[in-house]
């Protein structure tokens, strides 16, 4: 009996906390898009309805449990056999109540939410493409001020923090090197795809979540109404790095967005101009690229996690020739593998620029316990040529 009461009290507390709209720690985080706001309203309303049903039914049960007891000498009433007509009438009552709740009280707002959620084009002013891959998000702006900007967004939390060797930062696991930047107040249409397995791009405060399917395009939209930094995660099991695929969105004013876009475009241009670089420069930059992109699987030391993720240290590919006697890069060479991938190893062609690819390959061939005898240095120009 005590336990029953506890349950009842718990249910009421639950119910109260849900209706306390000011406090979101027990509920969805504060919504910042029309979609999320609508979702929160729908959720609160439905939770309220279900909580009321729960409490009413529980109360009836508890009353019955307390009064209709064998130990109190309560004699069972003979409500059997009821006439079929009575039985049908009484069982149709809960049926009718639920019919009303499901398809009118809950069903109509649910309909409007669905229509709103799926309307990705009406009044949208900007289109971006999001690609999920193991285990990072890639963003590309397809039109507007930021057209042509394209970058990869990686987890920025350190390994030391994850293994409890360093103190964890405030945004542990929810921080990235390159956040997605969006202008406040604009409806942004999002095209979503993936390069390897299913992923799901999710920011709780936006209310939108969509699966990224390799080989297909899916759509959704966001319209952030309040400047700020919003954080979310991949929520479709996508392999061992699934927990390490955060989404960070920086929502800024339109002016700031335009400034950011200009700066980013200039940077990107500069990065795409291929310059001759020294081995040391390449190795230094390559180390950064490696630790960001490659270390998840091949480990910081290059030891890999065989058999799924081969070691780079001493690997035939990472120490063998890249170019054949005809000057063209060979199949299954180091450059081929990085550009085009194979099996679980992703293709980096679209994700990294010429300089980054040249740098990371030069790094892998000269560090991680390797000292390649042939083709020890790869120049960005050679990567550029290989792409053609």
């Amino acid at each position: 009996m005590q336990g029953m009461k506890k349950l009842g009290v718990g249910a009421v507390a639950w119910f109260l906390s849900l209706s306390a709209h000011a406090d979101y720690t027990w509920n969805f985080p504060e919504p910042v898009t029309p979609m999320a706001l609508d979702t929160l309203h729908v959720h609160n309303k439905f939770m309220l309805i279900t909580a009321v049903i729960f409490v009413v039914v529980l109360a009836i049960m508890i009353y019955s449990i307390v009064t209709h007891r064998h130990s109190k000498g309560y004699k069972p009433v003979a409500d059997n056999p009821p006439s079929t007509a009575v039985e049908i009438f009484w069982t149709l009552i809960p049926f009718a109540i639920l019919l009303l709740i499901d398809f009118v009280i809950m069903g109509i707002p649910a309909y409007h939410s669905v229509v709103m959620m799926e309307d990705t084009r009406d009044q949208s002013t900007m289109v971006i493409k999001i690609t999920g891959s193991q285990w990072r998000w890639q963003y590309e702006y397809l039109d507007g001020d930021a057209k042509g900007i394209k970058f990869v967004s990686n987890l920025a939390t350190t390994n030391g923090q994850m293994h409890n060797e360093e103190d964890k930062g405030e945004h542990y696991l929810l921080e990235v090197d390159n956040p997605l930047v969006l202008p406040v107040g604009e409806k942004v249409r999002i095209l979503m795809t993936a390069s390897d397995v299913l992923h799901n791009w999710w920011v709780p405060q936006f209310g939108s979540s969509r699966v990224a399917v390799p080989g297909f395009i899916r759509e959704t939209w966001v319209q952030v109404e309040k400047p700020g930094v919003y954080r979310g995660q991949c929520k479709e099991l996508c392999g061992k790095g699934h927990g390490y695929m955060p989404v960070v969105v920086n929502a800024v004013s339109k002016e700031e967005f335009a400034q950011w876009a200009n700066k980013k475009q200039d940077e990107q241009k500069a990065a795409n101009d291929v310059k001759e670089m020294t081995k040391d420069e390449l190795v230094a930059q390559g180390k950064v690229v490696y630790e960001k992109n490659c270390a998840v699987c091949h480990q910081v030391t290059g030891a890999g996690l065989p058999p799924a993720f081969p070691a780079l240290t001493g690997s035939k590919i990472a120490t063998g020739a890249i170019f054949g006697s005809d000057g063209k890069y060979q199949k299954d060479s180091h450059l081929d593998r990085v550009l085009n991938g194979k099996g679980v190893m992703p293709a980096w062609k679209a994700t990294l620029n010429d300089t980054e690819i040249a740098a990371v390959i030069t790094y892998e061939r000269n560090a991680l316990g390797n000292a390649a005898a042939v083709d020890a240095v790869l120049q960005p120009a050679q990567v550029k040529a290989a792409r053609e």
């Binding site: 729960f54 019955s64 019919l99 542990y172 709780p204 699966v211 099991l237 927990g243 058999p307 099996g343």
Partner: protein, 530 residues
């Protein structure tokens, strides 16, 4: 329903003894016992796996295992709990009780019955073997895709996926064999006078389950076979590059997977009203309404599958259809709840352990059902989907609605099966420990889910820390409480107060007309139902 002329003889003890009795047995009670024992063992195995997970999630950071192993534990935990713990438990009861309840001497196809059971242990071994193989450097462990096998992740996976596919094939064959046997038994072996509409509710629950199994298991078998050929024989069913579609797998999987949820629960919905009427000392309310509701739920179960992947992208009409059809399931379910509570209403209730579990079951399963209703809403589901909210929801249906229902059944029939009363005090203690620690485990998961914690992640942001810690403490308490359950069962099998034939004052049904334990060949003379 009343019974006349029941006779039994105990002199036909011409069966093998010792280990051969169990290996070769075709006796429904022996096979039922084996199913139930197997189920209990696998429940503990699947439970220990999740305690590893909950230990890892006790605080932020990686402490015990790498993410790959974490993913393996999650997937295997689910497959074991569903296929090797919950389903065999229901089948065990079917074997034990259906013949007794419908007045049959045994199941209709006893040899098939033996096969149905003996396929199970090898498949359980197949599921867990990759863990052991990995220790010896063979392969990279069990399947790490979650129990849903979604490609392309499962196409990438190692030998664990192949082992799991074969295990699922075997488990599926076992279920289909069991189902055929149950359907044939129910249709052909009922005592004279027992029309379908006089049949015990448990038989109805199982009959519908059996049809669902036969309808959906072959689809699952097909889907995982297609996966196998994608993995090894160059087909591209689920690969866009070859003209396939990964989402097609989800359609096939959930065409099985959603009815599966009802497959797990329908047998329980069958015997819960029987327990209720026993301890309310009053016939169950709305027998016919319940039968029709069970059929309605069975029918709806096969037409709502896509609500498991609303966020995968679907045309608006499809979203609306799957939303409204899913909500429709709450209608027959409401009728069932109404009948259960109406059965208690103005009864003369007493609260022995089976009744405690049953009442607790109604409340907790109610939470599962109501949170399921809100999940049907497409817009809100974008938030809930793949978050811990869903994990909490389906544990309210599968653990509370499934396992705790089974526990009610165990306490209800244990005296009948063993001939001894279990320890009532310990039984009640087991109920309270289970119910409380269950809530401590899963209520916090609703809140971390709402706040935005995705499921299937080995580590989480700091804001989720407190709730996860509470949840882990609850899980360990829940796990430990089950050792008490094992102890109660073992001591009841070994001895205890002699159980009478009827066992419970208000018990109704043919099984209570036999001695406890029933003789080896249950009814040697057919009972007649008037």
């Amino acid at each position: 329903m009343s019974t006349t002329s029941v006779a039994h003889h105990d002199e036909h003890q011409d069966h093998p003894t010792g280990i051969m009795r169990w290996l070769t047995t075709t006796n429904h009670k022996d096979i039922g016992t084996m199913y139930l024992t197997f189920s209990l063992i696998m429940f503990l195995v699947g439970g220990s796996m999740i305690l590893g997970i909950r230990a890892e999630l006790f605080k932020p950071g990686l402490q015990l295992m790498n993410p790959e192993f974490f993913n393996q534990l999650i997937g295997v935990h689910a497959l074991i709990m569903i296929f090797a713990a919950l389903m065999p438990a229901a089948t065990g009861f079917a074997n034990w009780m259906l013949p007794l309840q419908i007045g049959a001497p045994d199941m209709a196809l006893p040899r098939l019955n033996n096969w149905g059971f003996w396929i199970l242990p090898p498949s359980a071994i197949l599921l867990t073997l990759p863990f052991t193989l990995a220790l010896f450097g063979v392969g990279d462990g069990a399947l790490a895709t979650g129990w849903t096998f979604y490609p392309p992740l499962s196409v990438q996976g190692g030998i664990g996926v192949d082992f799991a596919i074969f295990a699922v094939h075997l488990l599926g064959i076992s279920s289909v064999l069991g189902s055929i046997n149950i359907i044939v038994t129910i249709y052909n072996m009922r005592a004279p006078g027992m029309t379908l509409m006089k049949m015990p509710m448990f038989a109805w629950g199982w009959l519908i389950t059996a049809f669902l199994l036969i309808a959906t298991i072959p689809v699952l078998a097909g889907a995982v076979t297609m996966l196998l050929t994608d993995r090894h024989f160059g087909t591209h069913f689920f690969d866009a590059a070859g003209g396939g579609d990964p989402i097609m797998f989800q359609h096939l999987f959930w065409f099985f997977g959603h009815p599966e949820v009802y497959i797990l629960l329908l047998p329980v919905w069958g015997f819960i009203p029987q327990i209720l009427q026993t301890f309310s000392r009053k016939p169950m309310y709305g027998y016919k309404a319940q039968v029709y509701s069970l059929w309605a739920i069975g029918a709806l179960a096969v037409v709502v599958w896509a609500h498991h992947f609303f966020t995968a992208g679907m045309p608006v009409p499809a979203l609306l259809y799957f939303m409204y059809s899913t909500m429709a399931i709450s209608l027959p379910l409401a009728v069932l709840f109404y009948c259960w509570i109406r059965t208690m209403w103005k009864g003369s209730m007493s609260f022995e352990t089976p009744m405690l579990f049953t009442v607790g079951w109604i409340i907790l399963f109610g939470v599962g059902g109501l949170t399921g209703l809100v999940l049907a809403d497409v817009a809100a589901d974008a938030q809930y989907h793949n978050s811990y909210f869903v994990v909490a929801h389906f544990h309210y249906t599968l653990f509370a609605g499934g396992i705790m229902g089974i526990m009610a059944g165990v306490y209800y029939w244990l005296p009948k099966m063993t001939g001894h009363m279990y320890n009532e005090k310990l039984g009640k203690l087991h109920f309270w420990l289970t119910a409380i620690s269950f809530n401590v485990t899963f209520i916090p998961q609703f809140f971390v889910g709402l706040a935005g914690m995705p499921r299937r992640i080995p580590d989480y942001a700091l804001q989720f820390a407190e709730f996860n810690m509470i949840s882990s403490i609850g899980a360990f308490a829940l796990g430990l409480s089950q050792l008490l359950f094992v102890y109660i069962i073992i001591s009841c099998v070994k001895g205890g107060k002699k159980a009478s034939d009827r066992v419970w004052e208000g018990a109704q049904g043919l099984e209570w007309t036999l001695p406890s334990p029933p003789p080896y060949h249950s009814f040697t003379e057919q009972p007649v139902v008037k």
